[in-house]
Each structure stands twice: as C-alpha cells, then as structure tokens.
Symmetry: D2
Amino acid sequence: MSGALVHRVEASGPGDVSGLSELIARGTLPDSVRAVIGKTEGNGCVNDFSRDLASRAWSDALPKGAVTVMSGGTEGVLSPHFTLIAEHDSGSDSPSTLRVGVAVTDPIAPDELGRRAQVDAVAAAVTRARHSADVDLHQVHFVLVKCPLLTSEAINATHRRGASVVCTGTYESMAHSRGAASLGVALALEEIADDVIQAALDGTVEAWSSVASASAGVEVRSCHVVLLGNAREHQRGQRICSTVMRDAVDAASVQRLLDKIAADGGQVVQVFAKAEADQTGTIRGRRHTMLTDSDVASTRHARAAVGGLLSGLTGDTALYVSGGAEHQGPAGGGPVAIVWEAGNGSDA
Amino acid sequence: MSGALVHRVEASGPGDVSGLSELIARGTLPDSVRAVIGKTEGNGCVNDFSRDLASRAWSDALPKGAVTVMSGGTEGVLSPHFTLIAEHDSGSDSPSTLRVGVAVTDPIAPDELGRRAQVDAVAAAVTRARHSADVDLHQVHFVLVKCPLLTSEAINATHRRGASVVCTGTYESMAHSRGAASLGVALALEEIADDVIQAALDGTVEAWSSVASASAGVEVRSCHVVLLGNAREHQRGQRICSTVMRDAVDAASVQRLLDKIAADGGQVVQVFAKAEADQTGTIRGRRHTMLTDSDVASTRHARAAVGGLLSGLTGDTALYVSGGAEHQGPAGGGPVAIVWEAGNGSDA
Amino acid sequence: MSGALVHRVEASGPGDVSGLSELIARGTLPDSVRAVIGKTEGNGCVNDFSRDLASRAWSDALPKGAVTVMSGGTEGVLSPHFTLIAEHDSGSDSPSTLRVGVAVTDPIAPDELGRRAQVDAVAAAVTRARHSADVDLHQVHFVLVKCPLLTSEAINATHRRGASVVCTGTYESMAHSRGAASLGVALALEEIADDVIQAALDGTVEAWSSVASASAGVEVRSCHVVLLGNAREHQRGQRICSTVMRDAVDAASVQRLLDKIAADGGQVVQVFAKAEADQTGTIRGRRHTMLTDSDVASTRHARAAVGGLLSGLTGDTALYVSGGAEHQGPAGGGPVAIVWEAGNGSDA
Amino acid sequence: MSGALVHRVEASGPGDVSGLSELIARGTLPDSVRAVIGKTEGNGCVNDFSRDLASRAWSDALPKGAVTVMSGGTEGVLSPHFTLIAEHDSGSDSPSTLRVGVAVTDPIAPDELGRRAQVDAVAAAVTRARHSADVDLHQVHFVLVKCPLLTSEAINATHRRGASVVCTGTYESMAHSRGAASLGVALALEEIADDVIQAALDGTVEAWSSVASASAGVEVRSCHVVLLGNAREHQRGQRICSTVMRDAVDAASVQRLLDKIAADGGQVVQVFAKAEADQTGTIRGRRHTMLTDSDVASTRHARAAVGGLLSGLTGDTALYVSGGAEHQGPAGGGPVAIVWEAGNGSDA
C-alpha cells in the first residue's frame, strides 16, 4: 500500500519553490508529490495574487498531476510555508498510516457556483479521492478543497447570457463557493443527508462537515480536492486526527488533541484549521467587531486570532489556518486536523 | 487605606457610557472612579477617532479628576469594553489588596516626544502615582501610560520654529512616544539605570520595563498614568500579578499565572497585555509578515494574534490587549498583568 | 423671505468646531444655522467614528434644531471641512437667491431600511423641507440625506423577532439605505413615478434622482434631509446649479458648469458631488479594480478619484464628495451641485 | 535609425500576457520589444505580488533582453494594463520620432540602497540608455526606473554583517530607493549638480528631476531603466512631450500639453505620471489626510487622486500613474510625460 508523508517547508515569498530541493535532499522524489498546500502571504481575499504566483511557480516545478491548493493569509504570527504531501508506494512496508487522495472537478460555471451543482461536483470528487486513498469513511480526517470565486467579468458575462449568479459581490462569492464545496464534502462523507443540502445553501438549516476545509481563489476554475485519512491497518509513522473548535476561542478542544499526541510520545507535523467570524457578531455572548470593520476583511481577523491561539498552543507558527468556515464546523467555529508522527516506541 | 476595585463593562460603541449606570447599580459611586481604561474599536493607529469619541463621552460622564486611557484596536476576537477603576476609602476595612494611583504630566512638546524629556516627565508622574497608591516598588504590577503622538501639523510647526522632531512619520511617532514613556516607567521603578536611557532611546541597548503598558493617541497632549499594585498588608479581595511573554506565542508564561490563580481558587477579573511584531521579522526562527504588510499596520496584526491567544487561554474576549511594545517587555514579547479576585476561602 | 448662506470652514479634526467662532466673526448668529454638513476623515464606511465624533461636537455647539449630516471619507487630496448653512430672515432684503429647507424623518426600523417604507419616509421629509424652503420643484438642485445603516446588533434583534432585513452585511446595508433614500428624493421631486419604486429597489429598473446625495452612517436612526434650491424671485448673492456626471471620469459635465459660472463672473462657494464604482466593473469599456479590492472599500476608491478630478478642475480640495451613488445619477456616475456667489455686476 | 513604438494592451489580471498576441497581430515582432511597463492591480507597496506575477509572466513570454518594469496600484478609476515599447530598425524610414533606450544596473546591495552608490549606479545606466537611444540630453522626456526595496531579511542580514541600512522600515525603504534612483536620473541628465546629491539624500536641499519616474518593488535586485525621448531629426509618428505638475491638483499644466497635442491634431497614446502626498500635510494651504491614514498607504491615495484627475482630463483610464515622487518633480507634485501620435497632416 501507499503511505503518505507530509513535509513542511518554509517560504521566503510566494514564488519560492526552493523547498523542493530540501524535499529531494530528504529522499523524496518530486514525482511522488501528490499535493502542495500553500499558506501564502496575500490578503486571502479576491485580489490575492500571492496564490496565483505560488500556483504557477509550483506547477512549473513539479511533474504534472500534483494538485496545488494555495490559501492566502498569514495574518498575525503565522508564517508563510508550503506543505508537500508525497506518496510512497512501498508494498507491505508502508512508512506511515497516513493516506492521501486527490481529485479535480470539471470547471464550475459561474451560475453553478455556490449552488447544488457545485455541491455535487465536489461530492463526486471527494468520493474519487477517498477511493484512491483507500480510506474508510470514518477514517477521513481532513478534506481540503480549493474552489473558484466570481469575478466582475464572470458576473457580467453570466448576466449577459440571461443566467443568474448566487450573489453579485466578488468577496461575498468566496463564502458561497466555500460553503457549497464544504457541503459537498459533508455529503460525500455521509455527514449530512441529501435532502438538507438546499436548505443549508439557503441558510435555513445549519449543516456542516467536521473535516472540510475550503478556500476560494481566482486562480482556479475547477475545485481541487486533497483528502487525508488513516489506513485501516496497524499504526506506524505519520497519522492524522481531528476535532472541531466550537468557537474561535475554543482552545480546549485543540488542547485535548495535543495532550493525546503528547501522551503517545508523538510530534506534531502540521495543523490544518479553519477560522471564521461568528455571523451573530458575538463570541460567547460578547460583541466582536470583525463584521463591522470596513478596513480589514473578517476572514483576515479570524485567521489572525485563531492563528495566534494555535501558534501559542503548539509553539509553532507555520500552521495552515484558513479563513471563512461556512459549513465547516459549527457556526463561528471550525474543524482542526493534526498530522503527527509517532515516537519510536509507539508503532504497533 | 484605600483599596481599588476593577469593574469591567461592555460597550456597544466607543461613545457608550451606559456602563456607568451598571457601576452605580453595583454600588460604586462615580466620584470614586479614578481611571477609565478603554479598549475601543478603531484601528489603534494615527487616525483612530474611536479613542477621542470615548474620551469625550467618559469625560462628560464622570466627575473631573478621573484619568481616561483609551486604547484603540479590538482586532480578531477581542471585544470592545471599558475597565473602570474605583477607589474605596474604607479605613482598615479595605475591600481589596489592589491599589491604584493616577497622575498626569505637563503637555509633552513635539520636540520632547520620544526623547529624554518625555522619559523624565513620565518617570516623575509614575513616582507620584506610586506614592499616592502607597505601593512598594516591587509591588507594582502594571503601569499604563497614555501618551501623545506627532501630527503633521505639529511636525511642521516644530520645523518652522527651527526645532527638530524624533521622526517625521505620524504612525512611526507613536512607537517613539510609547518607547520613551515605557523607559520612564522603567526608570521610576528602578528596573533600569539612568545611564542606559539615552542608549535605549537610540536603539543601541535593549532596556525594558516588565510592567509598563504604553498607548499613543492624538487625543492627548500630556501623558496619563495609571498604576496598579498590591498593598503590603494582608491579602483580600482583588489583587494583581504579572509576568512577561517572551514572544508573541509565549502561552506558557501566561498559563502559569492562570494556573496559580486557579490553584488559589481565584477568578480572573481583567487581563492587561502588550503585543508587538518582532522587529527581526521572525518569531522563533520563522518568518512573519506583519512588518511587510502594507495594508494592515503591524500593531493591528499583533493585537489580533495575542488577543486570540489570551482569549483562548482565558475563555474571555473582553481583554485589554494593546499594540506596540517598545521597551515594554523583551523585543517581540510584552508584559501581561492580571487582576484577579480571590475566592472566599483564600483571604488571609 | 429667508435667503440661505453657505459658509465653509476648515477642520483640524472631526471634533473641531472652532469654525463656529469664525462664522460668528463674519456676523452669522449660531441660531440661524440650519445645517452642518461635514466631510470628516474616517473611512466613510461602517466603523467610521469620525462622523459620530463630529455630530456630537456640533450638536453640543449649536442650538437645537440644526441638522447635522456627517459624511466620512476625505481620500486622496480632499480636505476635511464643515459646510454651515445659515438662514437670514431679512424681509424683502434677502441677501441671496439660495434657499435651504431641513427635515428629519421618524426613526427607520431595521426591517424598513432599504425598502419602500424608507422611500416614503424620505419622500415626505423632502416635501416638508421643500415647502419650508419655499422652492419650486424644478428649482431644487441638491437634496442631502443622512440615513442609518444596519448594525450586527440590529440584524440579530430583527431576526429574533421574526422579521427580515434587506441584507445581512453591514457595509452592504449602507448601499441599500442610500438607495432607498435617493428614491425617496426622486419620488418627492417627481423625477420618477411611484410605480417604478419597487422595481428600482429590486434592481430590475434603473431609476435615479439627478439631485439626491445620500450618505449612510451608524450615528443616526432617522433620515436627516437638507434641501438647497433657488428662490423664484430675482437673482442675487449665493445661488446653486447642478449637473450629472455620467461616469466617474466625466469632467466635461462639470467643466461646463464651471465655465458658465466663470462667464457670469461668479466664484465657486462649494461643490457637492457623489461618486461610485461602476457596478459593471468597467468605465468606458475598460476594467477598473474598485470592486475586487478586498483591502480598500470601493466607496473610498471612488471618492479619491472623483475628488481628485473635481479638485483639479476647481483648484480647491475642501469639496464635499460622497461615495456610493445608488439611484443618485446614472449608474457609475452621480449628481454634482455647485453653490456659487455672483460677482457684483451680475445681480439683476 | 530605430524608431520606437508604444503599444498599450489591456490586462484581465497581472499574469495576462495575451496582449502579446495582439501586438503580433498588429505586425510587431516579440523580439523587437525593448520594455514592458505594467500597471498592475496590487497595492503598489511592499507586499504587492501582482508585480512579481506580471514580471514572471512577461519574462516567460518575451525573448531575453526586454526590460520589465511593473508598477503596482490602479486605485480609483485606473485600469490595469501593460505598455509595450518596441523598436523598429528601419533604416532612414523610421516610423516615428520616438526613441527608446534600456539599461540595467548591477544588483544594489542593501547598504547601498537609498545612498550615493545607488545614485551613481542609476546615473551610469541612464547615460548608457540615452546613448543607445541616441537622444540628446534636452530631448529626454521620460526616464522610468524600477528599483529594489529593503526586506526584513535584507535588513537583518545587513545588520548581522555589521553594515547599516538607510532605514529599517520596509515601506519607508521604497521611498529612499525611489529618491536615490531619481537623483541618479537628474545627475545623468545634468538637471542637478554632483555636489548637491548628498544634501538632497539627506533632505536638506530640494533637488529633483523633471522627467524621472521611479517605482520600487521586491521583484528586482537591480535597477531597470527605460528612457524615452525624441530623435533630433524631422518629426513623424509617435513622439513624446512632458511637463511637471506643481502639486497633486495642478490640472492646468497637463491641460496645456493636451491642448497643444489637440492643436496639432494629435492623439494621446499613453500618459506617464507620478503622484505623491505632499509631505507638509497640506495642498494649497489646506490639510489633506493621506499621511495620517493608517489604513491606506499615502501612495495609494495619491495614485487614486491624480489618476482620477488625469483620467478625467483625457477621458482614458488605462494611464500609467505611479506613486511616491521623491526627487521626481517638485515636492507634492510630479513629472508627467505624454506619448502622442501626430495626425496625418502633421508630419514634417
């Protein structure tokens, strides 16, 4: 079987692919790389060109077939970096429990974005990725989706041909795209039933995935899916676990995972988290100002705050914290997945 | 003797003084209020008018003599609020160990700002405040200073009369003012020697206070000082303790204080912390992007991150986290003070 | 009859009311002031506290009854200032052709904002203001409306009582409020028919006023209306004229007005203009980026650009340029009104 | 002789090089392209990755040797675009009067940036470019320089090896780099004497070039120079003229050039302008707020305002307006160059 290995490399800038040499030096071949997950230093919003720059640089550097997911925004203490996920086909001697699967949807048309068509496209891709990873439903701990957004041009073109779009704001469209993608994950993983999808899209029913992480960007037309889970066989090397923060200050949930890893003598390899501004304008009953700050987007605020918390808990700042958690964990909170490496004594 | 009591009230906006009624309802008279410390929701930078708005509203609402210190910036999860500090003159029956002292300097001239003259003015005010609080040197845990900044008008006027200013950037002047104020605190509390002051101002020697917290704003011409410490007598009611975060992700230092308070059966009343972007551009060896983000000021990033961490550790978002920690704690870190209330059994 | 006089005073900050002394020195009594129209230096968006600060300061400084309209945003070359409009009751010896009328609506409930109820409330107020100014329909050249926005608190409270709001974004609500207010102006001035209002609100019909100027802010609950027009009698002193910019670079329309004023030997007293980002994402067929900039709100961009143009054309930077021109002039453009003072020889 | 032709192409994004096909369709060979001058849609400040993205895309698309100068910032009405400058070697049958010369300096070390060494390096490159263009000193109307900035990494590395940098702020370093580059232009074109250079760098003497346009960015280590001027021979086709705006609202200077071109029956091909916030904080005696806005960089404000003015005067929004005019035109103003095409009857 094919075990997956997560490598994390620093970045001196969005176009810095020097981490690949580092990877090769560690003995990982470029053509085993299945996915590059970047945390680049743009604003993470509509006009974030750091994502496009990183996508181009890595696409040039890697063999065809590797999926790139670039998520902008390293607010506060967060450090720009790339997470490379490679697959090692090594017979029965798999180096790790961790499994990876990737898939790409067809392009999402502007009038499909944020709607049922996008949900279904993502759900199908997630199922393909899960099968290729050979991971059971309940062993999936992280599904990353990079999804498109609506540009002014796309909105106008759609209107001209008499079709409609889910919303007319470009920044707002990012939320709709993330939401539909995440419902697609939840549907594929049987976290929600098919018949609540439309109500969830309409905002009348709360429905969410506990492992989805969606990021929107102008640099993709399709949805890119990267799925991580654990193999069903005996445990060795890297593996993954997950939880859900119930709100943006829910340190306890994450601390429990960290305590468990520490108890097993393990080391954290990478943390993947989602953050969002609670849409009620409050956290634990107290007012926050993320939604009324017209100078800084709420996703930037949320990444900075949750990034600060997780960096403090782990002592590490090169974490993947992504903003905008629509249908990703409960309202105001978000999923957290941790890839960790067991100590020598803990393989079994 | 006069014990001090810290009350924290929520704010629906910078001009919301309804918390005063709440205070009165709890039995605290307005004329016992010595200081109002606001965390208002502006950008915390030069053009933050939320501070001025709050200052005016509270100055109108309170009897003359109460010092107002308004600090802008509630990025991320932080919740706008006001901390009111009242003094209860109750003979030997002081309700708490906590002591407060306030003082105001003469106006700081533009050519004095960020220089030795400001250091000395603040040092003298701190000493006056400490004596009025009747607190020993080593029992001072928090000295808050609100200090002025340089406006374009002030810079031009100073140049016209042939004098010089410490810098010509308005945002930059906030850092110089905070730095000089903090060195004044350190000097008054004998944390540093007189002969390192100039070198510290020049940036050639690292020197800092472990209890200073300075905030600059266009709404003041003088420096306003609020000092908190513990009485030397036996312990009761509210009291204060402090530590220093060595960098922006130093959760451990704060956790130790919180653990100690919890061990004593105490409840946190308020946390006062400073945050800043490490000027080396790195935290624990990894690059951060706070200093190269031309869209969002580094002080905003720092407040969001440290605010996220402290809110996670305490479960509370109405904390006082202030940005820009020049000479306040070690480079990249900052002082943290916690006012807490002992449980019933812990008075001694 | 009562002629109106427009005085413009500089502001050293949002709370600077020293212009009142200047006014008194020129012989205008404070109690003749009908309106204060401020261009303050906040971001002009949801969290612009410069407006509130200015409103409070002027409300304190003036007798009751004067209407305050504070519009935030002095991007680019624009200079913060206040425009004071006083009324001189001087029998047949009216000092000017200019007339002013003011009116205030009842508070607009959150579920009325951006909807027909707001349109009607504003229309009624405009009619009251016009009658008090004694100006004919076709002699109205400028109707300024300060209108409320939706806060997170108001949105939540409305949802809790089972009612709906026009949108759930606070920044977005500013556009809805400006739009409904402007349709109210157009309705009252018979620029549009009653039966297109709903379609205009729904965005399916283009409908606009050529003299409306609406500005939203958190500092008001009601709509404040200030109307300027010319008396029907012979021409003297200050008067007003207007045009419509068909897009944000339509210098020609404004230049024609300026040329006409110059030909009459007149002097510009004040310019009132609206600016907006064309919602198609293009201007004269070329792409603009105001709608895809997630760092700076499109209203800020629009004010900066149109302010730069008008300041260049007039050589004056203390102009009133307000952002967000929904139903105010054609899409992408906006109304421009100019108060000017005739030279000695031009009275007739 | 070799005449130069300026082509302007629209851009759907920073990485859009489709304009090259358009160029080829017009009969211009890619290997005749000497320079690509981009106006990309980032913030134009330190973390503007749109410049890097555009540089990479055009460097990949064009033969080696073409110089790329990418300037970020299309605030307000400005439209992102690329200006391609090709050279046609066509013997005596030169298609135009316009001439182009390009040159690149050696990398500027961090401790040279903003200092005499950078001035001299740029001056030498300007002279090389002028000679290759074969243009007389007084016939140079535009010298564009793309120059590096200081990153946090460079500042730290320089300090570690015991050397100093001109300033420690990354955004601030952009101004120093632009200033030194512009003094290099002024020196090479004999606009200023050698012995005022140091005083000009120190800010004690005002000295400026009337044709320099400098733009700083993280995407270059060297200075890239593009020089445009007119041939001394008879006039045909495209040519260039220039003026200096004395402040940011000086429409008259530009209008005079436009009137002259119109009088000659010419058509504007492209406008190159510089914009800056007057460092006194005032324009024509009135306060502006560009230097005290901590949310939006002053260069962004200045581009938006001057871009609005020039777009209004020309009716065109795809103009090159660059921010930060240190030593480029008088304080608060900046040089403006216009490439225009004569009508048929005007060749002589």
